[in-house]
Subunit: 194 residues, 2 copies
DNA sequence: ACCTGAACACCGTTCAAGT
DNA sequence: ACCTGAACACCGTTCAAGT
């Protein structure tokens, strides 16, 4: 019933979905607000009723991306007890970055957080990070809260670095079988026992 | 003498330099070919005499970036013997990414290597990577060539991930003093002795 | 309250010229 | 061989309207 051809009804979420879908087969920098508007069948300036500007839309899309990533992290918790969860999280991250590299690029874009246009963005990111901290503590790789955070920063860095470098083809000059697996990287990184 | 106001004489390198300079204070996505042309005082389409398109210019800039990074890596070799060199390389990488985040973003942009417009790009990247492999072997962190490459991939991932995440403000919700130092990350990562 | 149409300044790229 | 001017299709954004 919200489709009376003039009042879209749920344009805000439709634009976010359309943008994420567009990111599946185009680079973030070739993504346009007008394109997203066309995709949902609305005029070029209709988005401005729901987003301050293009960056605000991208920030909302980024927040959605962090929530999806958190979901993936949580999806590993039931299947893997204890230390293996960290490896599963590493694999989940790499899979996510491989499947939606454009979205990941938007999630970690620079201007977004500089302007901080979207209220939920920081919280969504914090929540994903918290999963890593928790997994690091449960794995025994970190014993104090401070060490948990530092370890999580390190783990996030290896996995994020590897996943994005590989997705962007930075290791193109190496034979694929030479590359370590995400789980290897997690193991390499972890100091402490086993 | 190449400046007769009509024939620039060294427009190609002037455009590369201007682009890198522009990247110091603007995001890569807000960078335009026209702007670079204006910067060197030439018409909007003059660049097309020297570069196939905008991506070709960015690829040349990226190659320049990898050469600059390699220089920084090499600058650490004389000052630090043995294992400490790996830590110095990690610090050099982070410093580089902090000083020129826009350039780093261009260096690891996705379309660039997809099209592979610039012949020197892959070679420049390989050379930077080779420094890491060599340092990993010298440090004793890797004993076989295969292990050297895998270790270098891991080190590149941690350092690149950390440096870009920090430069883009991804750790903004953490107190800065909680963050590990680049050298810490290199030490955490290294398996093997010491 | 939500959307459209027309407009502005910008961009990448091309093409017919100019020197 | 190298550069300019004018043009085209596109973009982000704004503003006066329409429903």
């Amino acid at each position: 019933m919200p489709q009376n051809r003039y009042h879209h009804g749920s344009l805000r979420v439709a634009l976010i979905d359309a943008t994420r879908r567009l990111l599946l087969d185009r680079d973030p920098e070739s993504l346009s607000l007008r394109q997203a508007a066309r995709e949902v069948g609305v005029s070029a300036n209709a988005p401005y009723r729901h987003f301050e500007d293009k960056d605000a839309l991208l920030a909302a899309v980024a927040a959605e991306g962090f929530r999806a990533l958190t979901e993936r992290f949580r999806g590993t918790s039931s299947d893997n007890g204890g230390k293996r969860r960290l490896e599963a999280i590493g694999e989940a991250y790499c899979e996510f970055a491989t499947k939606e590299p454009g979205l990941v690029r938007v999630m970690f874009g620079p201007r977004l957080r500089a302007v901080a246009r979207h209220p939920g963005l920081d919280e969504a990111e914090r929540e994903a990070f918290a999963e890593l901290v928790q997994a690091a503590e449960e794995s025994g790789a970190a014993t104090t809260p401070e060490e948990g955070i530092r370890t999580a920063v390190g783990l996030w860095s290896v996995i994020h670095g590897f996943a994005t470098l590989r997705a962007d083809g930075a290791f193109g000059f190496l034979d694929p079988w030479m590359l370590p697996a995400p789980a290897d990287l997690v193991r390499y990184f972890r100091r402490g026992s086993t």
